[in-house]
């Protein structure tokens, strides 16, 4: 099965390769790095489908600068070394002007030196780690970009939502001390929450993997009279925390978390999940995305289940098209400058502005999901400033 798939993929490359040779000057060549096999195959296939949909839509409306976009997809098999090879081929054989993907920070950290060397801009879709766009010395990777917001930025969104939407001024944090993700979210939440006039009345930690009982911390939090409990962690512990909090009679405290939300949390926490809020990149019920989901289903005869990947891949293509339009010419460095100078560009899922110093999206709109009637539902959009 897998062999047939690889052969089919090769055939597709061969055909697109010939087509490219025939009309070399009339097309804009864009590489797409997707995990079509391996652990992330489900995400990668959704991304590629969504990206193809965006390309088809743009081309149907006359393309960009009068030229059609042509996609060069490569499978990196969920392996950084394959991603590096694929990037080389895209740059040397296919001569792409930009690359979209991949959907993981580790992959983009591996391809960043290549993007800088070939001077080809690359846009990660769901690459949330800070080190994608800046290296570990804090220097900017000039050709690396991302569509998603970063992990710490989520902390700011949680603060904004708690202080401005919920209008609650006392909050407690219960976070995993062993996780960079949770530490980052907590740090930025605390910083911005104070700026927005809130007060963190309890700051408690635990260790994921060894701790399963949180009643001691929850008792302290209960005594602190916090109105909101912020949970910047991954799914399982958050579910246990919510369940144990309700068992301790903490019925009024509101739970707010980040994109660690998972459907399986309902199995553990049950009714304790109800009315909790979860910050995320996108929402399946977001009215602005309805057309995308309908088109996706019509084209591929399948639901877009990995919707975060689908939407971010789709809008990454639209963002790139917008940048090429603004650059006014099909040139990698000009496109990179245009991406860097993105200010208030309306995409489908958010309004995009890029911080030239870090290449991270600035003040990007996040989505708040509310857990209601046994599932997460779209609640509102949120933008900090």
């Amino acid at each position: 099965m897998r062999k047939i798939f690889v052969l089919a993929l090769l055939a597709v490359f061969a055909v697109t390769g010939f087509a490219a040779g025939a009309m070399a000057d009339d097309v804009i060549k864009v590489g797409y790095l997707a995990a079509l096999t391996g652990d992330w195959a489900a995400y990668g296939q959704t991304e590629l489908n969504a990206a193809k949909l965006a390309v088809a839509e743009i081309n149907a409306k006359g393309g960009v600068l009068g030229k059609q976009i042509q996609l060069f997809p490569y499978d990196f098999r969920t392996r950084p070394e394959d991603a590096v090879n694929a990037f080389r081929r895209m740059a040397e054989n296919d001569k792409v002007v930009a690359v979209v993907g991949a959907n993981g920070s580790g992959i983009n950290i591996a391809t960043a030196p290549l993007a800088n060397r070939y001077k080809i801009p690359q846009i990660g879709t769901v690459s949330t780690n800070l080190l994608v766009t800046v290296n570990d010395q804090g220097e900017l990777n000039p050709y690396m970009f991302r569509t998603c917001f970063t992990d710490p930025y989520q902390g700011q969104l949680i603060a904004a939502f708690t202080a401005k939407e919920l209008k609650k001024n006392t909050a407690a944090v219960l976070y995993d001390v062993g996780s960079d993700y949770a530490q980052g979210l907590r740090e930025f939440f605390m910083k911005y929450y104070e700026d927005y006039g809130g007060k963190v009345v309890a700051d408690q930690g635990f260790r994921a993997g060894t701790d399963v009982d949180f009643r001691a911390q929850l008792t302290t939090i209960r005594d602190s009279k916090a109105e909101v409990l912020v949970l910047p962690n991954m799914g399982k512990e958050m579910a246990l925390i919510m369940k144990q909090a309700r068992e301790l009679g903490m019925n009024d405290i509101i739970f707010v978390g980040g994109d660690g939300y998972g459907e399986f949390m309902w199995e553990i926490a049950g009714d304790a999940m109800e009315n909790s809020y979860w910050i995320n990149h996108v929402a399946p019920e977001d009215p602005a995305m309805a057309d995308f989901f309908a088109n996706y289903k019509k084209t591929y005869n399948d639901e877009c289940k990995e919707f975060v990947n689908g939407i971010l891949a789709y809008d990454s293509i639209y963002w790139l098209a917008n940048a090429i339009e603004r650059a006014g010419k099909v040139d990698s460095t000009a496109i990179k400058d245009a991406l860097e100078n993105t200010v208030n560009v309306q995409l489908h899922h958010a309004v995009m502005s890029i911080d030239p110093a870090t290449h991270n999206p600035m003040n990007k709109t996040g989505v708040v999901l509310v857990a209601k009637d046994g599932r997460a539902q779209f609640f509102t959009r949120i933008q900090p400033e």
Partner: protein, 293 residues
């Protein structure tokens, strides 16, 4: 004051579950003089039997618990027959038994990883968890009260079994000297099987409560490390010691996490273990028997 009471209640409820597990450790130790690290495996076996029976018979906790208790007891006997009996027949160096038990604990854990997968399972809400107010001073859940009652029920059952029955007498005799008990006509192999059955049964009780509260996964047995520490603090081989040690440990954990820092709790737990070993190596209730040559 209210906070203190609340944390004490939290600590007792945690300690009561440790006690069920710690008693199993002590029971085996008192007879065979080694720490059975596969004990956590019996707990996991009990949890999974309970989970699958609940799914099969439509959330009847009584049938599920009964099968889980029996299943875990029988597997404990089987583990003893397969892994420990051949060793103890060949040598009386208990170190080999200890190593075999570590091996068995890894085997049991991985059997579950391979067959049912490493993903956690959430048991259906078969045990009520609604909050209960204690004299208007503190809040606990119905679940905690139930687990405390079950712990008391099973531990007093064990006490009765040991003090009133003929087999209980044999076990007590064997805990003084297994070989002499054998010479007095006690069927040693059968006795050891009974001890393992009882230990497995108690582990399953702990396993059911732990998996309802904290979900079920193959590594759930690791929580028995805390119960083992409790058994050592109380004095390995002593049943009252295991119970007291567990309650002390549960309280210490909750009070540390509540009043000092939650990150300190494991440092305190293992610090207590080190201090116990330094000052009272036999634990609070441990009996000191001079090594006979």
């Amino acid at each position: 004051m209210e906070t203190l009471l609340q944390q004490v209640i939290n600590g007792l409820s945690l300690g009561s579950v440790y006690a069920l597990i710690a008693v199993g450790y002590s029971l085996v130790y008192s007879i065979l003089l080694f720490s059975n690290f596969a004990h956590g495996g019996f707990l996991v076996i009990g949890g999974y039997i309970c989970y699958y029976t609940l799914a099969a018979v439509g959330n009847n906790i009584w049938i599920a618990s009964l099968l889980a208790l029996l299943g875990a007891g029988v597997s404990a006997v089987l583990v003893e027959r397969v892994a420990y009996k051949p060793i103890r027949e060949r040598t009386n160096v208990t170190l080999y038994l200890l190593i075999a038990s570590m091996g068995m604990s890894i085997v049991i854990e991985n059997i579950f990883v391979v067959t049912v997968g490493g993903r956690f399972r959430a048991l259906p809400p078969v045990i009520p968890t609604n909050p209960v107010n204690v004299f208007g001073l503190a809040t606990t859940s119905a679940f905690d009260i139930l687990s405390l009652m079950m712990a008391i029920f099973f531990l007093s059952g064990l006490q009765l079994f040991l003090s009133k029955t003929k087999w209980g007498l044999a076990i007590r005799a064997a805990s003084y000297d297994l070989r002499t008990a054998g010479l007095m006509g006690v069927n040693v192999n059968q006795l050891i099987s009974i001890v393992f059955f009882v230990a497995g049964l108690l582990a399953a009780v702990g396993g059911i409560f732990l998996s309802v509260r904290y979900t079920l996964y193959p590594q759930l047995g690791l929580i028995t490390i805390k119960a083992f520490v409790a058994a050592v603090i109380g004095g390995l081989g002593s049943l009252p010691g295991a119970v007291v040690g567990s309650l002390i440990l549960g309280l210490a954990e909750m009070l540390t996490a509540g009043f000092i820092s939650s990150q300190m709790r494991d440092i305190v737990v293992f610090g207590m273990l080190v201090l116990t070993l330094l000052w009272r190596p036999t634990g609070l209730f441990g009996k000191h028997v001079a090594e006979k040559v």
